[in-house]
């Protein structure tokens, strides 16, 4: 997808161009997911909510008063996401100490739990498939040490008597296969925003 400059998007959205809003969503949504995934601790339901909320705030702002530097919409969207994540965290903290009706209702929402569970399951299933396919135990242990034990590449390479090039190659192969598995199973398509805005 070609990058559309923020100034151009901003102008079109302000002019009421709905397609420009869709373009903004397509362009910003992956990055916002990255940013918010890091801040939602694996709660994918919350992640989806915050992505939608962020995009809504950004679009409403652009429809209305706009932003000072239209070329910095991405930075504005990222900062909005961070602020919303912080606010959500504070709200969750409050809910832990105050049992109110909203919190009870939220905890009782079954769809939220299912969404979270489904996301975890997708990644876990793909990883299991990947582990089954990796022919060498060395490659699997390498993944474990790198991603789970957070060992440095240098240490892993030394212990496993691997060159860094061989290590990177094996890692790259694993990533590529992981992506393929997700794609084959339809786990990468996310149209979560189509009905939300």
């Amino acid at each position: 997808m070609d990058f559309i400059p923020g100034g151009e998007l901003s102008r079109r959205i302000r002019a009421g161009d709905i397609s420009a809003e869709s373009e903004l969503i397509r362009q910003f949504e992956p990055g916002l997911r990255v940013l918010l995934r890091r801040r939602t601790g694996g709660d994918v339901g919350l992640l989806q909510d915050l992505v939608q909320e962020t995009l809504l705030v950004v679009i409403q702002r652009l429809r209305g008063e706009g932003i000072d530097d239209p070329g910095k919409i991405a930075a504005f969207a990222a900062q909005t996401a961070r602020n919303l994540a912080i606010a959500s965290l504070r709200k969750a903290e409050r809910q832990r100490t105050d049992v109110d009706s909203e919190a009870t209702e939220r905890n009782a929402d079954p769809s939220r739990g299912v969404a979270t569970l489904a996301e975890d399951l997708e990644a876990a299933l793909a990883v299991r498939a990947l582990l089954r396919e990796l022919p060498q135990t060395r490659d699997r242990l390498m993944l474990k040490r790198f991603y789970l034990d957070d060992h440095d590449k240098e240490i892993i390479c030394r212990d496993m008597q691997l060159s860094e090039a061989a290590f990177n190659q094996a890692l790259s192969r694993a990533r590529r296969r992981f992506r393929q598995i997700l794609e084959e199973r339809g786990f990468t398509r996310r149209d979560l925003l189509s009905s939300g805005l």
Partner: protein, 205 residues
């Protein structure tokens, strides 16, 4: 931005300022963001699998060990079997007939005779065995001597690379004293050929 930075970000090893700049870049570059998200999901998936058990990471190694153990066991069994067989095979029972082999030693003629009721008996001592059949001169044959009982057949001796002395005779030397009493059979097979072997029985009294 490169893969190293993705790894640093996903592992939480970036400073807040660097992480913020990285995130701004992600929001502006959806393709790059997808790469980062893949890394996040791979890490999350691995963590979830590992929460159950880390056996998945060494699963095949265990299989490999089982396979190795089975292989070792098979090797030991095969070795024991071959040792047992080789112990039963006496290398001096059968020998090729040389040009200077004496004609004075006893002989036994083995041939397929239609309607023959009696099985030939092996004389004592060294015996010149004349196997009668149709042979291709210039070709090599293997001569296998089996001992037969009601329950099993065991190979007692084998002689490779024998050439027939004529188109109807192949001769070998057999030391009858080395054989236990019982029923025996010669199987004569043409080397590198699918022809049916020639089977001829005799008895050691």
């Amino acid at each position: 931005m490169n893969q190293h930075m993705i790894e640093q970000y996903v592992a939480g090893r970036m400073s807040e300022a660097d992480a913020a700049a990285f995130e701004d870049y992600c929001v502006e570059n959806p393709e790059f963001a997808r790469q980062v998200e893949l890394e996040q999901r791979l890490r999350a998936g691995l963590a979830q699998v590992a929460r159950g058990s880390t056996a998945e990471f060494v699963r095949t190694e265990a299989r490999w060990k089982v396979a190795l153990a089975a292989g070792v066991l098979l090797f030991i069994c095969a070795g024991a079997f071959l040792w047992q067989r080789s112990a039963a095979v006496h290398p001096n029972i059968l020998a090729a007939v040389a040009l200077d082999t004496s004609r004075d030693i006893p002989s036994m003629r083995l041939a397929l005779v239609r309607g023959a009721g009696n099985t030939p008996e092996l004389p004592r001592g060294l015996v010149r065995v004349e196997i009668v059949g149709l042979f291709d001169e210039g070709y090599e044959y293997s001569v296998v001597l089996d001992r037969q009982s009601n329950t099993r057949t065991e190979t007692v001796a084998t002689l490779y690379g024998q050439q027939p002395s004529s188109s109807v005779t192949l001769e070998v030397l057999l030391d009858g004293d080395e054989l236990r009493p019982g029923s025996y059979a010669f199987h004569v097979l043409k080397t590198n050929s699918r022809e049916e072997p020639l089977d001829l029985a005799f008895v050691k009294p």
